[in-house]
C-alpha cells in the first residue's frame, strides 16, 4: 500500500507542476500584466515602471522558475495589486471556502443518501419520482439563480436569514444550500443506482433467503457497497465545490478564495492566482488520494489489487 501511495503522490506532484506552469503562462497570453497591475487610471509611465519593477520583460520561463523556487520554500510573495503578503491573505480566506465546501457536501449527502436509498427501495414510487425531479432541478438550475431565490425568499420576504457576509453561522446557511444543491444530483443518482444494483445482487438474494429483514439487508449489505462510489464522487465533488464557489461567494459577499481569485484574475494579480491554483490543485489531488484510501478500507477487493 505504501508503494501505491508514493506512486500516487509523485504523479500528483507532476500534475500540480503542469497546472501551475499553465496558469502562469496563460496570464501572460492574456496581455501585458503590467497594464492590469498598474490599474485603471495609470499613465503609460506608471505601466513602464511596473513592468520594470517586476521584471515582466524577461522570458516567461525565467519568471516561472523564480516563482516556483520561492513557492517551494512556502514563499508566495506579495500581491501585485494589494501589495500585501499572499500567504496572509490566503490564510484569512481559506477557512471560509473550506468550511463552505464541507458544509455544502454534508448538506448534499444528508439529502442525497436517504432520498436515494428510499427511491431505490421502491423504484417508480412517488418518492422515486420526487428524487428524479429534484435531481433534474438541481442539475438544470444555475447556482446564482437558486442563490437569488433564496435571498428573496429567506432574506427579504421572511427575514429569517442574513443576506450577505460571514460573521455568524447563520450567514452560511443560504450559501451552503445554494452550493450544496449543485453537488446534489450526482450524489443522488449514484446512491439510487448503486442501491438498486446492490439489491439485485446475488448476496442480497442469499441474505433474503437466510431470512434477514429488509431494513437489515438495505443498511448492512446494500448500502455498504454503495458507499464506495459515493466516497469517490463526494471527494471529486468537494474539489469542484472548492473551485466552483466563486459565484456563490460573489453573491453572498463571502470573502473566500473564490471571490479573491475572481478579483485577482481581473487584476492580473499573478502571485495570488498562482497560489490559489496551486492550493486548489493540491486539494483536488489529495481528495482523490484520500478517496482511494477510504475505498480500500471499505472494500478489501481494492486493497488486494494494490
Amino acid at each position: 500500500m505504501t508503494g501505491f501511495i508514493i506512486k500516487r503522490l509523485v504523479s500528483a506532484a507532476l500534475t500540480i507542476l503542469v497546472v501551475s506552469a499553465l496558469t502562469f503562462s496563460i496570464a501572460f497570453l492574456a496581455g501585458d500584466p503590467a497594464i492590469a497591475i498598474a490599474g485603471k487610471d495609470s499613465s503609460a509611465a506608471d505601466i513602464a515602471r511596473v513592468r520594470e519593477h517586476y521584471g515582466f520583460d524577461r522570458p516567461v520561463a525565467v519568471q516561472y522558475g523564480e516563482w516556483l523556487g520561492k513557492a517551494l520554500t512556502g514563499d508566495f510573495g506579495q500581491s501585485y495589486h494589494y501589495q500585501q503578503s499572499v500567504a496572509d491573505m490566503l490564510a484569512a480566506r481559506l477557512p471560509i471556502t473550506l468550511g463552505l465546501g464541507l458544509a455544502a457536501i454534508v448538506f448534499a449527502l444528508a439529502i442525497a443518501v436517504p432520498l436515494g436509498v428510499a427511491a431505490a427501495a421502491r423504484p417508480a414510487s412517488l418518492v422515486d419520482r420526487m428524487a428524479l425531479a429534484l435531481s433534474v432541478l438541481g442539475q438544470a438550475m444555475p447556482t446564482f439563480w437558486l442563490a437569488l431565490l433564496l435571498v428573496v425568499f429567506f432574506g427579504l420576504n421572511l427575514r429569517w436569514l442574513p443576506i450577505s457576509g460571514n460573521t455568524t453561522w447563520k450567514h452560511f446557511i443560504m450559501p451552503t444550500i445554494a452550493l450544496g444543491f449543485f453537488a446534489l444530483p450526482a450524489l443522488l443518482r449514484i446512491t439510487r443506482a448503486g442501491t438498486i444494483d446492490a439489491l439485485r445482487a446475488d448476496y442480497v438474494r442469499t441474505a433474503r433467503a437466510k431470512g434477514l429483514g429488509p431494513a437489515k439487508i438495505l443498511f448492512r449489505h446494500a448500502l455498504r457497497n454503495v458507499m464506495i462510489p459515493l466516497v469517490s464522487i463526494s471527494a471529486v465533488q468537494l474539489g469542484a465545490l472548492l473551485s466552483g464557489s466563486i459565484v456563490v461567494e460573489q453573491i453572498f459577499a463571502l470573502q473566500g478564495i473564490g471571490a479573491l481569485s475572481y478579483d485577482a484574475t481581473l487584476r492580473a494579480d499573478l502571485p495570488i492566482v498562482q497560489a490559489i491554483t496551486l492550493i486548489v490543485a493540491v486539494f483536488y489531488v489529495l481528495l482523490t488520494l484520500v478517496a482511494d484510501i477510504a475505498n480500500a478500507i471499505l472494500d478489501p477487493r481494492i486493497r488486494e489489487n494494490w
Partner: protein
C-alpha cells in the same frame, strides 16, 4: 456552473432584482446610531494604505480616518486649512506651510512637522511603492523648518499643489508607520480624522467609531453618526437586497436602471449623481495607427458632429450626466467651456465634411472600448447613420490599453476620473503634454500646458488652458462625450448628499 460568463450572469441578476423589489424595506440603524455602508462594486479595498492600494473606496475610507494638509470645500471650491493653517509660495518651487499644534493622532501621538516630512518623502521616494506616481511625483523633497513649519520643494513650478494636497495625500503618523509599515497601517489604521478604526477585517468589514477629540477646527465636520460599519459587498444586487432588508443603509454602486426601480420603493431614496469622470473617444491624430481617415481633421470634426450626446445622456444615463464639449470636466479649474469649439448634433454637416475629405462613400473605423461600455452601441448607431461603419473591439482593460499603446487603435472609447482632482491639468495635461498617452502631439498645446502647469498666477493659468482647450477641440483630437454618473441608494431616514468629486463625506451625514 462554469459555463456562465460573468456578464451573462450579471444580466440575469438584473432580472432577479425585480423580484426582490416587491418586499418592503426595514431599518433599525437610527436606534443604535450605526451607519452601515455597503461598498465594493469596483473591487474590494484590501490595502487601506491608499498610497499603495489605490482604490476608489480607499479614497472614501481615507477621508474618514485621515486628514490632509488642506481641504477643498466641495461646494465653493475654496481651499481651507486642515492640518495646515496657512501657506505661502516662497518662490515658484517652494511652498511653505504652517501646521496646527493641537492635533493628536488616534494613538495619542501629537501631530507635527515630522509626520508631514516623513509621509511625503517616503511616498515620493523613487523606489516607493506608491501606485499612481502622478500623485506624488511632483514633490522633490519636503523639509522641516521647525516643529510647526514645513517647506515642500517641487521639481518644477507646480501651481496645482494645493489641489493635490487636498486630494489623495493623507498625513500618516511617522513613528507608527515607520514601525508597522504599509501592511501594519492597513490592518490597524491610525490617523487624525473624524473616525477611529475599531476593527479591520481586510476585504470584509471595517468598524469605525467617532473620534470625540475632533474639535480642533477642521473644515471637515465632527462625525455626526457615532458608529460606522463598512462591508465589502461586490454584487450590486446583493447590495439592493441588503438595503431592502436593513442590512445596510447606503450604497454607491447602483446602475441607472436599479436607481429607477428603487425610486418606487418606500423608505428608500436613490439618485444618480454626476461625477468628475469624463467619457471621451480618443482619435489617433499622431499617426501611430497610421489611419488616413482619423489623420484628417475634417473626418475628426465630422465624427464630433455625428453623435447626439444629449440623447445618450437622457436615455442611457437617466439625465444625470452632462453632455461634454471639453477635453476635461467643466467643474475643473481651467476647463474653459466657452473656449471650446462646439460640435452640436448635425448629421448633415458630418456627411458633408466626410464628403469633403474624400469619404463620400463612407469609411470603416476600428474602435477599441473597455468591456463595460454599453454607450458604445448607441455611438456606433449614430456614426453608422453618417456612413461610418465602426468595427467595435470591446475588450478587457488590459487588452484595450495594449491596443492603444501599441498603435492598433485609430479610435478608442474610454473614461477618465482625474483622481478626483478639480483641476483641468489632471485631465488635459495628462493626455496632451507630449507623453506616451498623447495621441495629438501638438507642439503648441504642449507649450501652453507647460505654461499652465507652471505659472502661479491663476489668471495666466486659465488663459493657457483655454488656449489648449480651443486648439484641442478645433482640431477635434478627441470626441468629448459626457460626464460620468454614480448611482447611490440609501435609507430615507439618512440625510445623504452625493458630491461631484465622487467622494461621499460619511462624517457629514446624519439621521433625519
Amino acid at each position: 456552473m462554469g459555463t456562465f460568463t460573468m456578464s451573462r450572469f450579471r444580466m440575469l441578476l438584473a432580472c432577479a432584482s425585480i423580484l426582490a423589489l416587491g418586499a418592503p424595506a426595514a431599518f433599525a440603524d437610527k436606534a443604535d446610531d450605526t451607519l452601515r455602508i455597503g461598498w465594493g462594486g469596483d473591487g474590494a479595498m484590501i490595502n487601506a494604505d491608499n498610497y499603495l492600494g489605490g482604490t476608489r473606496t480607499g479614497i472614501w475610507f481615507t477621508k474618514m480616518v485621515w486628514d490632509t494638509l488642506v481641504e477643498r470645500d466641495p461646494t465653493t471650491g475654496e481651499y481651507k486649512g486642515e492640518l495646515a493653517t496657512d501657506w505661502t509660495w516662497i518662490d515658484d518651487k517652494t511652498l511653505e506651510l504652517k501646521l496646527r499644534q493641537d492635533v493628536k493622532f488616534h494613538n495619542g501621538e501629537a501631530f507635527s512637522a515630522d509626520d508631514v516630512v516623513y509621509t511625503y518623502n517616503t511616498m515620493s521616494a523613487k523606489d516607493s511603492q506608491a501606485r499612481f506616481r502622478a500623485i506624488v511625483d511632483w514633490i522633490e523633497t519636503v523639509e522641516k523648518v521647525d516643529a510647526k513649519t514645513v517647506r515642500i520643494h517641487t521639481k518644477t513650478p507646480f501651481p496645482q499643489a494645493l489641489e493635490f494636497l487636498a486630494g489623495p495625500m493623507p498625513i500618516y503618523p511617522h513613528k507608527y508607520y515607520a514601525e508597522v509599515g504599509s501592511q501594519g497601517m492597513s490592518n490597524a489604521p491610525v490617523g487624525t480624522g473624524p473616525y477611529k478604526v475599531v476593527e479591520m477585517r481586510p476585504g470584509e468589514q471595517y468598524t469605525l467609531v467617532r473620534n470625540d477629540d475632533y474639535n480642533w477646527g477642521s473644515p471637515k465636520s465632527k462625525a455626526k453618526i457615532a458608529n460606522v460599519v463598512i462591508r465589502e459587498i461586490p454584487d450590486a444586487q446583493t447590495q439592493v437586497a441588503e438595503l431592502m432588508s436593513g442590512g445596510i443603509d447606503v450604497t454607491a454602486d447602483m446602475s441607472p436602471d436599479l436607481v429607477t426601480k428603487l425610486g418606487g420603493v418606500p423608505d428608500v431614496a436613490a439618485k444618480m449623481s454626476e461625477t468628475l469622470r469624463i467619457f471621451v473617444i480618443g482619435l489617433d491624430a499622431a499617426k501611430r495607427a497610421n489611419n488616413p481617415a482619423v489623420n484628417d481633421v475634417r473626418v475628426r470634426q465630422a465624427l464630433n458632429y455625428a453623435i447626439d450626446r444629449e440623447a445618450i445622456v437622457k436615455n442611457l444615463m437617466a439625465g444625470a450626466a452632462r453632455p461634454l464639449s471639453t477635453p476635461c470636466h467643466p467643474l475643473q479649474f481651467g476647463c474653459a467651456e466657452e473656449a471650446a469649439v462646439k460640435y452640436p448634433y448635425d448629421p448633415e454637416k458630418a456627411k458633408s465634411l466626410l464628403r469633403e475629405a474624400g469619404f463620400a462613400d463612407g469609411l470603416e473605423l476600428t474602435m477599441y472600448a473597455e468591456a463595460p461600455a454599453k454607450e458604445a452601441e448607441a455611438i456606433m448607431g449614430y456614426l453608422d447613420a453618417v456612413g461610418v461603419k465602426v468595427k467595435l473591439n470591446r475588450v478587457p482593460y488590459e487588452a484595450y490599453r495594449d491596443a492603444t499603446m501599441s498603435g492598433k487603435a485609430p479610435a478608442f472609447l474610454f473614461n477618465w476620473g482625474s483622481y478626483s482632482l478639480a483641476d483641468a491639468a489632471a485631465s488635459i495635461s495628462f493626455f496632451f503634454k507630449g507623453g506616451d498617452d498623447d495621441f495629438a502631439q501638438d507642439k503648441d498645446v504642449i507649450e501652453w500646458l507647460n505654461t499652465g502647469d507652471s505659472v502661479t498666477d491663476p489668471g495666466k493659468r486659465k488663459e493657457a488652458y483655454a488656449s489648449a482647450v480651443r486648439r484641442i477641440t478645433e482640431q477635434a483630437y478627441w470626441i468629448p462625450l459626457f460626464s460620468g454618473v454614480r448611482g447611490y441608494a440609501w435609507d430615507a431616514n439618512l440625510d445623504f448628499t452625493p458630491f461631484a468629486d465622487e467622494i461621499p463625506r460619511f462624517y457629514e451625514y446624519s439621521w433625519k
